[in-house]
Structures are given as C-alpha cells and as structure tokens.
Point group: C2
Chain length 395, copies 2
C-alpha cells in the first residue's frame, strides 16, 4: 500500500490546509453580518481573479449548473447560438442549449485541436441571427485551450455574446473578462480555486446584463438578476448559499492571491512546462499541441497500451490518481491534472507513476533522465524573464 495518495485529476483537486480548516468551522447564519463581511471580502478578490468590475455571483450548484444558468438567463427558447465544440464539455454546451430549446449551430474541431476564431467569424457572418457563441476556455476532456481572446474580439465586432465556460481555466491561466470583452465567464470551485465542488461563480458583462434583463429565463432557481440584486444590495444570495464553501472560498482566495495574479499564473505555467517536458522526454505524444491548457496535460498512449491498466497501476502501486480519456478516447488518454494545491514534486510523482504504469502495460518509455529534464523545464519557466514567457497577467 502506498503511504500517501496524490490526487492529480483535473478536478476535484487537493485542498490547502487553511481551506480545510475553514470548511470545518461551525455554521454561520447566511443573513448575519459576520457572513456578509466574508461575502464582501471574497467578492473583491473574485473581481480581481475574473478581471471584471462587475459582480461575480456565487451559485449553489456544480459548474454544469452555472452553464445552464448562463444559457437560460441570456437566451430565449428559439434563439440561435453557435456552440464551438471540440470535446465533451463543448458537447455539453450543445446539450444544454438544446434542452432549453435554443436553435444550435455547431462548429466542431477535432478533439485535441482548438477551434479557430476565423472559423467562428465565418459562421457568424454566414448567419447574423446567431446571438451568442458558447465555448470553453480550457476543454477539460482534451487539455486544449480555445482562443477565447480572439473569439471574444470577433463576437464584439459582430455584436454577439461570448459565453465562456472557464471551469478549468479561472485561477489557472489568464482570462481577463473585461479586457478581453467576454460577456459571461463562469467557473466551479473544485479546480483553480482549490475548494470542494458545490459552488459555482458567474459574471456577466454590462451588455450581457442588459440582455439578461430582457430575457424571460423560465428558471426560478437560476435567476441571475435576483442574485445580482441580492449580492450588490445586501452582500447576500437569493437562496441559502453553501455557507462553508463560501467561508472556504474566502480562505482559498487569500491563499491564491497572496503574491498576486502574476505568481498564480506563473506557477501554473511552470507546472505545465514540467508535465509537458516530461511526457515528451518519455517519448509519449502530447494530445494538445500548440493550443494547450495550463493545469492539465493530456497524454496520448502508444497503440496497444491499455489506459485503464496504466491508471490502475499508478493508483494502486504509487497512490497517484490521474484521469483517463472520455467518450471515444476512453482507454487512449491519460489526463494529468496539475491544478489546485499541487506542486512540482506531486507532478514529478505523477510522471513517474505514468512511466511505471506504461511499462507495466507492456510499453516502453524514452529517456532515463525525463524527471531531471522536467524539473529543469519547471525551474526555467519560473525564472524566465517576462518577455520570454506567455503573458502572466491580465493586462
């Protein structure tokens, strides 16, 4: 039996100790001043993290609930939206929009690739009735980062709303909502925010708020206008909030933002460099090429290697829990999550467990010094001057 277990799944993620202790606190009443103080403090930090001047609404649901909240508050049944789909969560946008009786136009890219902003522009020009584009920033099923900045710029020019599932992106890579012109950005608590699942966060742009005000949502529970009014008026939520997750959020935001946003993103970028360098050094294929997400690294297994066996070996012999592929990629991918309260040694342990798992499954793994090369890449990413690294800040 391994002595420790390491959770290297792309959410939920390990929790920092101050967060765990906050979760264990005895109950506060959600209409009392002590809780409202916490709500207001968390709100300031959330606005910084989302890069928005507007309110960031806490919702008592999973990330999928927030996706549905966005759809049903921004679009009427019968409205036409474009779903950019290149993975399981892209598909989910389509399913939610269809359940809400929107007319769905789909732009697909192969799983493992990003959608192109120019293809979205073309679709929007072909069909001016499209009032919104729904996409992921990080597509968790493939480890790909879609070009949200470029897509939002296109949507601004063509007066269409950009609705972004930032579940595996917020707190992991820059996604400055106001600067990029995103109209709806949402996330869940169990990824970059290092909390248990059960809390979602959602923000709208001023023009999205105008649209929401004109939309009859048909939802009672997910009513963004009422949530905004409760939050901005009283520092409260419309219904009973998940109190201990919000108390934990206050701690996790303080923990995350202690050294500023630049440090948050540089840490995540460096861990991503660590994982990608190690995977390549082992002679394995990175599933996401140029447009890779931070916080998750997807590995395409060699032909004939059984992914389930690799994952089982990593878990049972080394205590390392990683995720497999989804849908048609089941058994073909290993997805290493390096988000939340995970450090360089955890990711290196994940690489070692992956290497051993592949050997156990009958495969061969490249260079002997893959760990040293990974860690060198991590160190370099931490110290490379800002000009030679991707932008780590919101501006």
């Amino acid at each position: 039996m391994p002595e420790k277990t390491r959770l290297l799944t792309p959410g939920p993620t390990p929790l920092p100790e101050p967060v765990r202790l906050a979760l264990a606190k005895d109950m506060l009443h959600h209409r009392k001043s002590e809780f409202i103080t916490i709500m207001r403090r968390a709100q300031e930090n959330l606005r910084l993290l989302f890069g928005t001047a507007g309110p960031v609404l806490p919702l008592s649901c999973s990330g999928t609930g927030a996706m549905e909240a966005a759809v049903c508050n921004l679009f009427q049944p019968g409205e036409k939206v474009l779903v950019a789909e290149a993975g399981k969560f892209g598909q989910r946008w389509g399913l939610i929009a269809a359940a809400r009786e929107l007319e769905v136009v789909t732009l697909s890219a192969p799983w493992g690739k990003a959608v192109a902003a120019r293809d979205i522009e073309e679709k929007l020009r072909e069909d001016p009735a499209i009032t919104g584009v729904l996409l992921q920033h990080s597509e968790t099923s493939t480890g790909v980062l879609h070009p949200v900045r470029e897509v939002a710029a296109v949507c601004r020019r063509l007066a269409t709303l950009t609705v972004v599932d930032g579940i595996s992106a917020v707190g992991l890579c820059p996604c400055p909502m106001d600067e990029w012109g995103i109209d709806c950005l949402l996330t869940g608590s169990q990824k970059g925010l290092m909390l248990p699942p059960g809390l979602a966060l959602l923000a709208l742009s001023p023009r999205a708020w105008k649209k929401a005000e004109k939309t009859r949502s048909g939802c009672f529970y997910f009513n963004l206008i009422k949530e905004r009014d409760s939050l901005t008026g009283k520092g409260q939520t419309n219904f009973t909030p998940p109190v201990n997750l919000i108390v934990g959020l206050d701690e996790s935001l303080a923990f995350l933002l202690k050294d500023g946003l630049e440090a948050v993103y540089r840490k995540q970028w460096a861990l991503t460099m660590l994982a990608r360098t190690g995977v390549s050094a082992m002679g394995l294929n990175l599933f996401a090429g140029e447009h890779f997400a931070w916080g998750i690294t997807s590995v395409l297994l060699p032909e004939g290697i059984d992914g389930a066996l690799v994952l089982r070996c990593a878990a049972e012999k080394f205590g390392v829990y990683m995720a497999g592929g989804q849908e048609h990629l089941k058994g073909r991918l290993v997805r290493i999550g390096h988000m939340g309260h995970v450090d360089w040694a955890d990711v290196a342990a994940g690489l070692f467990a992956l290497n051993q798992g592949i050997k156990e499954a009958g495969g061969f793994c490249g260079s002997r010094d893959y760990l040293e090369r990974s860690l060198a890449a991590w160190r370099a990413a931490l110290t490379v001057p800002p000009g030679e690294a991707p932008s780590m800040t919101h501006s």
Copy 2:
C-alpha cells in the same frame, strides 16, 4: 461580548464535531471506489430516514433547487397543480410552478394555520385536471406542520401526486414516504441533517418515477432520471457532486441514526415541548397552535414590541441567534430553531435570551419559573410512555 454564540435559527444549524472533521478531510475523487463506498453507505441510511425502498438522490443545490427539480421533472408546462399555501415557502411552490408555466390553483390558509386535507379533497374533486398537490410538511416561515399523511391519502384516492417539501421536517419529525404514500419527498442538508447547506436530497415513489419518465423536463442540470440511473447503476451522480458535503452526510447520518429513528424524533419532540412550554409560561403566544412543527417554535410578540430589537438584544448580549418573521410578519415573530446539533441547554438559553430581549424592548414576561417548567416538560416528554406521546416511528 458573550463568550459563546448559539445558532438557534431554523437552518442552517450547528454541526456536530464528527461532521465538521469530515468536512475538513482532503478531497476524494468522485468517480473512485472510496467515494462510491461512502455514497452507497449513505444511501442505505437515507432510505431508512426517508422511509422509502427507492433511491434518495443527492443533488448539488439548495432546497429550493430541489423544489424546482421536482416541479420540472414531474409536470409539463400547461399542467394544472394545486399549491397548498400558508406561508412563504408555500408561496415559493407557487412561484416555481408559475416560472415553469404550470397552471397553478392555490389553496390558502392563514399564516399560522395548517391547510385541511378535506379542503384539498374538495379542490381536487372540483377540478379533476389537477395532477399534483404541492405542499410543505413543516412551513418554516410560520412553524406550522401541514397534515401530509392525510393529504397524501386524499391524493392517492384521487390519483394525484403528493409533492412534499420536507426541508424543515426530514430528520426532525416522522414523514415515512412509502407508508404515507408520498410521491415526492425532498429536503436540504442544513436542517435535520446537521450539515452545511449546499446538498439537497430527493426521492420519488414508483408512480412518480413513471410520471417523470413521461415528462420532458426542459432542465439539463436537474434531470432526475439520469441522476437515478447514475446512482443505482454506479453509486455516482450525473454531474460532479459536492464531495465534502457527501462525506459529511455519511458522518451525520451515522451520528443521527446511532440510536434509531425513534430516538431522533423523541429528542426533537422533547425540545419542542421544552420551547413551547417556556413560551407559554412567559405569557407569550405560540404562533402555531394545534398543528405545530417539531424543530421550530414561532412566538407572536406582544403588540408594540419591536422584534428586531428583541433579536438584536438576544444576539449582542447573549450570543443567541434566532430568526424573525418573514414578509408581513417581519418584526412580529421570533422563530426559535431547535434543530440540528442543539440540546436542551441551548434551547433554555434561547428562552432566556428571548425573555431578556422582550424586557429590553419594554415588554413584560410572565412567570419567574418558566425555565424550570420548560425543562420539566422536556424531561417528561423524554420519558412519557410511547402510548401517550405522538408516534415517534415511521410505522
């Protein structure tokens, strides 16, 4: 400053230590066997608590979310339902049903009174198109218990579904779903279950499942059929569940059910006797008469006494947090919650703080021995033979 605070609100409630420690545990992945074992164990205890042979679905939302899940999975837009309304949460059923475009017939009783099963029967006979009756078991805004057993019997005879908001009832007073013929019973985590808010639980009868299978819900997130299939097939949820609340639920159910259901209800009944005896002995009016809820006691303040001042005094001078009235009863009621991890001394402290608060607000409080009389009533309720007490069991 008081040295301790006592949360005597009707939810959220104080948490037992084993629950708090469980909430602080590091994260488990929700698709892994350790979590599935917890889900299955909690399921056994939930079926016992709900008094049902069917699955009890965990949902990541507040109690209101579960109410909307029930409405949109059981009824199509245009269907006619009867809402039994005698308080804020009865009104909420009506608002949810209207948001979902059901046709709503309302049967109102004055706030502070229970609806009568014979009035529901009359409405159903008048209008055979009604396919469901929506009501609370315990109406938290007034402290009244509606006669769910009798209503369900009427609905069974007239082939109409009984949909029960048991948010302030499950784990506090008997509500055996299968035996009483309830078609949908739901609750939230932050009342009798002694957990933080953020988790709801919902069960359907076999005939309600049949109806749900024929209903096109229009909801993606609240899909009870998919939740049932995930739960019964794999011991999982359809979307990411609130992992640490479910780990806490496993502990809270073990804590709650340690001495059996009879002990759970007798404790709650005895605390209710304690509170009601004390309120009467102070010369105050109990807002709920014959049909009173267990777990909450509503006090009608004397004319001219400012409820906000009473609550502020109780909180600031004695560390006791109680709730006020809602809507037109704001300032007129004090609602003492005695649910969750609250004992006799906590409730006695609440009575003392109430007494002092009323004096501070210029009122007069009856007998000097109200605390002794309260505690004697509590002792008697704990020891009275089963034949002389209300039924404490599900059968």
